[in-house]
Structure formats: C-alpha cells, structure tokens
C-alpha cells in the first residue's frame, strides 16, 4: 500500500469513511459545548482579549520569562534542560532514565512528546512507555495516531475499542463504554503505582514561581506527576506566562474553548519535587524546554501562531477538518492550527500543501480564544510557498498567463468571450461539473459556476449605450 504523501491523498482516505464520520459527530458536539459555555459567561469576551494580550506579551518577552522560569525551577530544587531539537530532548530524558534506573514510564497526554516521537525513541532503548490518557492508551494499544488534539480517538467507535480491548487485554468482548472504562482504570492503576518515571507535557508554565500547569479531566495527569519517583515535564518553549494570575485567565478560556467546561476537572500546578515533610510526590523534577523549530517560527511572519493554547476549538468548527478527518493533516497537529503550525515548524518544503487545506471561511478565527488570525497566517504561508516556487502545480504559469491577459484589453475581451462560448457547451443549469486537463483540479472537488454568457465589459458597454 502506498503511503499517501499529500493532504489531498490523505483526505481521500478519510472522506466518507466510518472513522471520519465518527469524528465529525464528535467535533460538532464539542463545538456546541464551547458555544454554550461562552454564551453563559458574560466575561468571556473580555477574558479572551486578556488571554490574547497575555500570550502576545509572553512571546514578546520570551527570553526574559524563560530565564526567570528556569531560575525558579532550580530554586525549587528542580532541573532544567534547554533542548534545541527533538534529539537533544530525547537524549536528556534517556540520560535521566539511565542515571535513576528507570524501567517503566507512564505518560499523560502531551502533543509535544508526540511531536518529537518520544515513545518510539524510549522504547528503542528497552524502556516500557505506557500512555495513560484513556484515548491515548487506546491509540497506543492499536498502534494508531490521534485524530484530534483534545479527543484523540474521536475517530473510533465503541465497537472498535471493544474489539481492541478483548484482543489486547484478553477481556471478554463488550462495547459498553462504562465497562471498557473500568477495564482501563484497573489495568492502568497497577501500572501507575509501579512506574519509575512520569512524563507529562505542560499546558502553561508560570515564570514567577517556576511552576508547570497541567489540565486533565481523567486525573492521569495528577497520577503521572505524583506517583512515580521521577517527574519529567516537556514543554514547548512558548507555553509560558508571567504569573499565576495570568495562568488563571488562560485556564478559564482554555477549558471553555476546549470542552465547554468552566474549568477542567483537574488543574494541577506543580512546583518542584516533593518538599521535606511532604508525604508523597516525586523525588526529582525535571523540565525540558523545547525549541524544535519554534525560534524559527518566532522569527518569521507566522509568529502569532505561537500564541496558541491548544484548545482544539478551531478544529471543531473547521469544515475541512470535519470532512477530511484529523489524519489527513499527516502530523501531530491537525485542523487549522495544524495547517499553520506544521509547515511553520517543519518547513514548507515538505508541507506546502497544508496551508491549502482550508476554505478560508474564517470560522477558526471566530472560535479561537486568543483570536489568532489563522486565515491570515494561512494566506501568508501560501504566499511564502509560491514565492519559494512551492506553489500548487502550474499555479505560477497560470498566474503569468492571467497577468498577460488581464493587462491587455484586446486579449482579455477575446479570452472572456471564448470562455463564455465554451462554457455554454459544457455547463448544466449554470454549473460546470467537469473540466478537462488542468481544470479538473478544480472540478474534481467542487462545481464551477458557469461564466455569464455575455462578459461584464460587453454588458457595461450595452448599458452605457442604452442610457
């Protein structure tokens, strides 16, 4: 089987299949939760504006905030590692694991560790890595990848999960979500309590206290950061805010935008390791601060995307995401945020088709709690791609022809008239359903309105004559 390499090929697989249909129902449900949660909170719009200011302030002062954060972590007895890329992050975590005799690792859901393919790298060194978020656990058992940044198994049905559990965990088949849930709780509980290391992501880092904040609904984030003797948090370097009060603003808009909750069930704020006299908590606390392309994004014209708080709201409202499914985006991040962040982080050379995975309808901008101009950033990336000669096939040539026609009135008149005549031949009830040659790139996916029989400039002339 060929591995699909472009968005369109991957989307073809997704469109209309059972997984994408399950995903679409989920995305719509999450969208209505978000809308309801915002509507019943009068301060929401004000909070969003403040959250945006906080995120932009943090990006503009990122160097100072990271320096302060790292001083504070060390002051609280923790360790900080600055990782330029995935390899450096992985090497550090392996070193810590080795020095502290770690065998079993539990993880709570984290996009950034998926971004650096951490699990595979650790497993290659004989470390056992267990995902503990129920959705991620299902993904790991089935050898799949997540399709949504908040609800990773949105594309799986209960029957899929039932079959998976009976095959991999040796239980009797059931597709009752409550029973499947109990099976997972029991299975994972023992793993938690015998794990040596917990690896978490970081939703927000607080500079003034050197704290990391993790939100989960299941409680696996708290178990990951409390039960094992070593805790390693991996954070994208942009995740930071100055103070606890700033973090509160982010948390309020994050929960409402992600799932429509007023706050997530567990907001877990961790500052250093266990302190003297604490009855539990890890003995060591490490933070890995990851660049991995982010400083390049910050230096570029799509820098605003780093203000993202990973709520997933833009996915749920996106008509392209809902039709094509999360896997069509080919990387950890999907939907509008994925279409911007993946090419920004990983380079346009390989990912120049993603900025086109959008109709630019603007729904993502409306939904985004920190008002990131996603459509504007997508346009910038399209422009960058074209100017690097990476545009969609033939676009450059077509534009050259267009410019030539459009700047020569005689040729333009001739061409529009010819277009009108030939369109008449193939249009049905005002729509062209299929075009030959290069034109099929459009009509394969949507119909083209037939051009007016008489071009505008001809009608304009007639009107002038009449009046």
């Amino acid at each position: 089987m060929n591995v699909p390499v472009t968005f369109v090929e991957r989307a073809h697989r997704g469109i209309g299949n059972r997984s994408t249909a399950a995903g679409e129902v989920g995305a719509r449900r999450m969208m209505s939760h978000r809308i309801a949660a915002s509507a019943d909170y009068p301060a929401m719009e004000e909070m969003r504006d403040q959250a945006r200011r906080i995120r932009l302030y943090a990006l503009g002062h990122l160097d100072e905030l990271l320096a302060r954060f790292s001083d504070e972590v060390e002051g609280a007895g923790g360790h900080v590692h600055f990782a330029a890329d995935a390899d450096e992050a992985i090497a550090y975590i392996r070193k810590v694991a080795e020095e502290t005799n770690v065998r079993r690792i539990v993880k709570s859901k984290s996009m950034v560790t998926e971004e650096i393919h951490l699990n595979a790298a650790l497993e290659a060194h004989d470390l056992e890595v267990v995902e503990t978020d129920l959705g991620e656990f299902i993904i790991q058992l089935s050898g799949d990848t997540p399709s949504h940044i908040i609800a990773p198994v949105m594309h799986k049905t209960r029957q899929d999960v039932g079959e998976l559990f009976s095959e991999k965990l040796g239980i009797e088949y059931t597709d009752d979500p409550t029973e499947l849930n109990n099976v997972a709780r029991h299975h994972l509980r023992e793993i938690f309590l015998s794990a040596d290391m917990g690896i978490s992501g970081c939703n927000v880092a607080i500079a003034e206290s050197g704290s990391i904040v993790l939100v989960t609904n299941e409680g696996n984030g708290r178990l990951t950061t409390s039960a094992p003797r070593i805790h390693v948090a991996v954070m994208g370097m942009e995740r930071i805010v100055p103070t606890l009060s700033d973090a509160a603003v982010i948390l309020e808009v994050l929960a409402r935008s992600a799932t429509g909750q007023r706050l997530s069930v567990y907001t877990n704020i961790v500052t250093g390791a266990r302190r003297p006299g604490d009855p539990d908590g890890p003995e060591e606390f490490h933070v890995v601060i990851l660049d991995n392309g982010r400083s390049r994004v910050l230096a570029g014209d799509a820098a605003e995307v780093l203000a993202c708080i990973r709520c997933g709201a833009c996915l749920n409202v996106c008509p392209v995401y809902r039709e094509a499914g999360g896997h069509a985006y080919g990387f950890t991040y999907s939907g509008p945020i994925g279409a911007v962040i993946t090419p920004s982080l990983m380079g346009l050379a390989e990912w120049h088709d993603l900025p086109y995975a959008s109709s630019l309808c603007g729904a993502c901008l409306d939904a985004c709690p920190v008002r990131i101009d996603l459509p504007g950033l997508l346009l910038k990336l399209r422009r960058d791609a074209v100017s690097e000669g990476l545009g969609p096939d033939g676009l450059e040539g077509a534009l050259k022809w267009f410019t030539r026609l459009a700047t020569n009135p005689g040729m333009w008149r001739g061409a529009t008239r010819a277009g009108g005549w030939s369109a008449k031949l193939i249009a049905r009830q005002g729509w062209i359903k299929s075009l030959p040659g290069r034109g099929s790139a459009w009509t394969d996916y949507r119909d083209l309105p037939a051009p007016a029989a008489k071009p505008f400039h001809a009608r304009w002339k007639e009107r002038q004559r009449e009046s």
Binding site: E72, P152, N217, M237, P242, T271, G281, D301
Partner: protein, 221 residues
C-alpha cells in the same frame, strides 16, 4: 544546547519577529465582575452540575455524623485522611478512630507514604479544601506535610471538607488574594467534579483514573 545560546537564539528571533503589537506592561490577571452575594448557593449548585455531591452542615457534630454515614454507605473498611490539623472539623480524627475502621495515615520516618502499591484498592480519601470557587463549582487543595496528594486521587470516593467562609466567586478571585499560592506548595490543585472521560464516542464516564464520587461537605457559618 546551553541556556545562554538557547536564550540568545530566542532573543534574536524576537528582534526580527512580525508579531502583532506586544503589550508593553505585563497584562496580569483579570477578575471578572461577579457578585459576592449568594456564593454558597451558586457553589453548591455548580458542584452538583459537574456531578459532585454536596452537603451543607451546621456544626462539627453534624459533619462527623455525615462522614460516618458516608463511610458506612460505601462499605469502607479503611480510609486515607489528611492530618487532623488540616481538616476543618474539630475532633473528626478522634471520632473516626473510635470506629472500627482502619485509617491509613502517612507512613515512614520522613513522613512519606509507605509503598504506594498498597493503596490500589483504597476506597475513601478525606481532605480539607482551602477554598471553594462558586462560578466553576471547584475546590482548591494544597498538598504538603500531613496532606498527601494521593488522598484525593487514588480512592474511589473523595470527601472534601470546606468552610463556608472560604467560598469565593471564581478562580481569578481566589488567586488575586493568594498570588503566592503556586510557590507555597509543591502541588496546588483545583478539582472540579469527579474524574471524567468522554473519550469513547463522547459518552460520559466517571472515575476513569481519579475518584468516581466526589462529596463536598460545607461547614456553614
């Protein structure tokens, strides 16, 4: 990469960045305009809305009685409780000790819990909350000496005790008055209802990792 090189790379990126206009002063928190009056009612209502159970009691005696009833109702044979001086109910520890239940209290010489695998089947945890947040129906807890994190995490049932006067409007209100709260403890956590997941077909399930039942006992007055 060493810290200085890393930060230098960030610094030079910011210099050429095309970010939208950056606020000059730190924006800081935002305390929404929510009325103080009626916070208790709103808190109780909102805890129920997120699938928690609420109990408003008038006296310590009533609280002790209620906890006894809950322990019996769940068929608990043991429980993990925070140390008596961190629970807002006088005499609770003594009264519970007089029952035939085994308390599991923080263990070894350093005060560390004994090996955690012993707690897999623990049924009930009892803690004291620092605050209640009316707007979201949340409780704020601070781990520390005598206050194991596990008591609110491992058991199937979590009973949190809270003084009515510690209920405030929202998370932002509480933080505005407790700016140092994150630095003051190794683990500050805010709980909003029982553990939940909707990962399988977005069907709600309680108690996937954390407690399935959350009881918030509010001591009036």
């Amino acid at each position: 990469m060493n810290r200085e090189d890393f930060l230098e790379r960030v610094r030079s990126a910011i210099k050429v960045s095309e970010l939208p206009p950056i606020p000059e002063a730190p924006p800081g928190g935002l305390v929404p305009d929510l009325p103080r009056a009626g916070v208790t009612e709103r808190f109780l209502e909102q805890v129920e809305a997120v699938d928690g159970h609420t109990h408003l009691v008038g006296s310590d005696d009533e609280a002790v009685h209620l906890i006894g009833v809950l322990l019996e109702q769940y068929g608990a044979t043991d429980y993990l409780a925070w140390a008596p001086d961190h629970l807002p109910v006088a005499g609770l520890a003594e009264r519970l000790r007089a029952t035939p239940l085994d308390a599991v209290v923080p263990g070894d010489a350093e005060g560390r819990l004994e090996h955690q695998t012993g707690y897999t089947d623990l049924l009930v945890g009892i803690t004291g909350a620092s605050a209640g947040l009316a707007e979201s129906g949340s409780i704020v807890l601070e781990a520390g000496p005598g206050r194991p994190r596990m008591a609110s995490l491992i058991p199937l049932v979590h009973i949190a005790l809270l003084r009515e006067r510690d209920i405030t409007q929202s998370l932002s209100h509480w933080i505005a008055d407790h700016a140092e709260a994150a630095a003051d403890t190794s683990n500050l956590f805010i709980i909003t209802g029982p553990s939940r997941t909707a990962d399988i077909e977005q069907t709600l399930n309680l108690g996937v990792h954390g407690p399935k039942h959350l009881h918030v006992v509010v001591l009036g007055g």
